[in-house]
């Protein structure tokens, strides 16, 4: 599955770390962490149930073998999106550049997630295609799709639209 976007402003790692610091103990953001190595970043506290399969070496597709899309155990909207990116092999530096992490703008997101295709993909969503907001909000991916915190349904600021946001 394609995952819509990172984006815009304030998404530098530094900022994200600050936000993270306010919420409990922040997981580390290790650029060197291998996909599936939860403990590399989440060293303080186990993040998976005790009897969960060892994720070492798993890819996102492997995860989706059990956590099937559309099922009760689907991971959509449950993990900050960077996990999906990481497990698909999209690492920190691919979005934030090498050296001092750069803020990510929309151009970066749509370089993989072509906007027209994305809009088409959500065209059947009721009661409104979120990528066709009359208010132009689709121009800022990060309003809904967060990488380092849980994504949100920004439409719900004013509407009772029930979207689960990847």
């Amino acid at each position: 599955m394609k995952f819509p976007s990172i984006a815009n402003k304030l998404v530098s790692l530094a900022c994200a770390l600050m936000v993270g610091a306010c919420l409990l103990a922040a997981p580390k953001r290790l650029a060197t962490a291998k996909p599936g190595q939860c403990k590399a970043c989440h060293s303080d506290k186990p993040v998976l149930p005790k009897d969960h399969t060892d994720t070492k070496g798993l890819s996102l597709a492997d995860c989706q073998g059990c956590h099937e899309k559309g099922s009760k155990t689907s991971l959509v909207g449950k993990l900050p999106l960077m996990h999906a990116h990481q497990m698909k092999g999209v690492t920190c530096t691919q979005c934030h550049g090498k050296g001092k992490p750069e803020a990510v703008d929309k151009a970066k997101c749509v370089s993989c997630h072509e906007q027209k295709a994305l809009t088409e993909k959500t065209s059947k969503l009721k009661p409104q295609n979120p990528h066709e907001s009359p208010h132009g909000y689709q121009e800022d991916c990060n309003l809904c799709h967060h990488q380092h915190t849980k994504s949100e349904n920004f439409c719900a600021t004013c509407h009772a639209f029930d979207f689960s946001t990847p």
Partner: protein, 522 residues
Amino acid sequence: MSEKKTGLTRRGFLGTSGAAILGGAVLSQGVLNAAPGKATDQDALPRKWDETFDVVVVGSGFAALAAAIEAKKAGSSVAVLEKMKTAGGNSIINGGIFAVAGSPLQAKMGIKDSPELMAQDMIKAGLGLNHPDLVKLICEKSVEAFDWTVNELGMKFQEGEMVQEGGHTVQRSIKLPNSSGAGLVLPELAKLKSLGVEPRTQTLVTKIYRDKDGRVKGVQVREGYAFPKADSGKVKNIKARRAVVLAHGGFSQDVAYRMIQDPKLTAKFESTNQPGATSEMWREASRIGCNLIQGDWIQVGPWASPDEKGFGLAPHFAQEAAAMYGLWLNAKTGKRFVDELANRKVRADAIMMLMNKGENCIAFADSYGVSRLTKGIMDKLIQRGVVKKYDTLEDVASAYSMPLDAFKETIAKYNKNIREGVRDDVKNSVTLPKEVKPVETAPYYVSRLLPKVHHCMGGIYTNTAAQAMDVSTDKPIPSLYAAGESTGGVHGAVRLGSCAITDCIVMGRVAGQNAAKEKPWG
């Protein structure tokens, strides 16, 4: 006709306000160098300013963006400060109708109108609380504001369609593209971007610095502010070399503040506004000596629905189909209860009185009525369950437990008036749209009516140069301008629908132009 009722004659109107206009809208240097006001509470200026701009605009709705565009075009450096995550304020979810007196669209439809007639309508609904000089300026500049959206912003409008909101004696409200205020905000944002300015979102203004000499010299902000966490973000001081423009909007979502103004408007009343429509800047403007007037005139929109959150889409159906081409009914009696094209207060009050007695009201239109709506809106309304569709009048009556005979009789009576060209006895305050027809074409459509808190008519008292006036001296506060919903005295007791955009564009532009003309300090 309404001259008698309002006591407003063309001559009186021009007489009282002409002088103020001449010295106002286009600022003479004399006005710019207004005597310093006596500030009620001055602040020590910060030792160091983190950033400096010529003009600092607070807010990012219609008025703020118009002010920013004008100030930037006049050569000023401009910062636009928005506390929420997105630019556009409440304007970006506005209903998208724009009152213009004497527009080319009206001319093509053969509708006769004039700034004087629009002013008369505004003052009649406003119960004469409107400051006539401001009303006159806005109405006279409404065509210029429209031309600006076309020539400056490159907007295009659908011809042959016009909305009539309650209280307007003629059809003068132009539909914005995409049936939302976004249809104007997005072109404003694009224009501003082309000039090199982008709103700074998540930037809350926490203080306006008014110096001992009375002049406003900058603002304190929290950058990276996460609404509504008061202590979020990093404190910064921004110097305004020329002026500050306050275009921060209203407070419809701020229950505590609105109950101070109007105790009836408790938390049980939902609002059509975005959550950021709160009172911080109203309190701050008061603190530095602005004169906030008529704050207890808070508009409740009559056309909203309990079946969707906020403003939603129901107002389009209830107004542009049911009020214009159909009927509003008391479901308990099957009878009409108010002039469907009366002003918003008359209609909202009527609905709330009935609701307090346990009686509910509906907006009703036939297929012809809904055919007048902008394409696509009805599909969404039906699909969202906000408007329901019925094949027969019997089905409508049964769905809302409405007495069928009374309902049919109500429709028959209205249709007879329309068919015979007799002035309708209920919808009688205005000239009905020419396209009006008897309501008789199945299927039929209904939305439930629930008034929601919508607009603050009161606010900062300004003159026609958009200068904020000092509460102690009645003189302009040096280097402080205000426009849009943050200001008071334009709409009086009741704002007519679609006049907000006109007010915001006209006064926003005036504020921006004049702010850029102030002499820099320091």
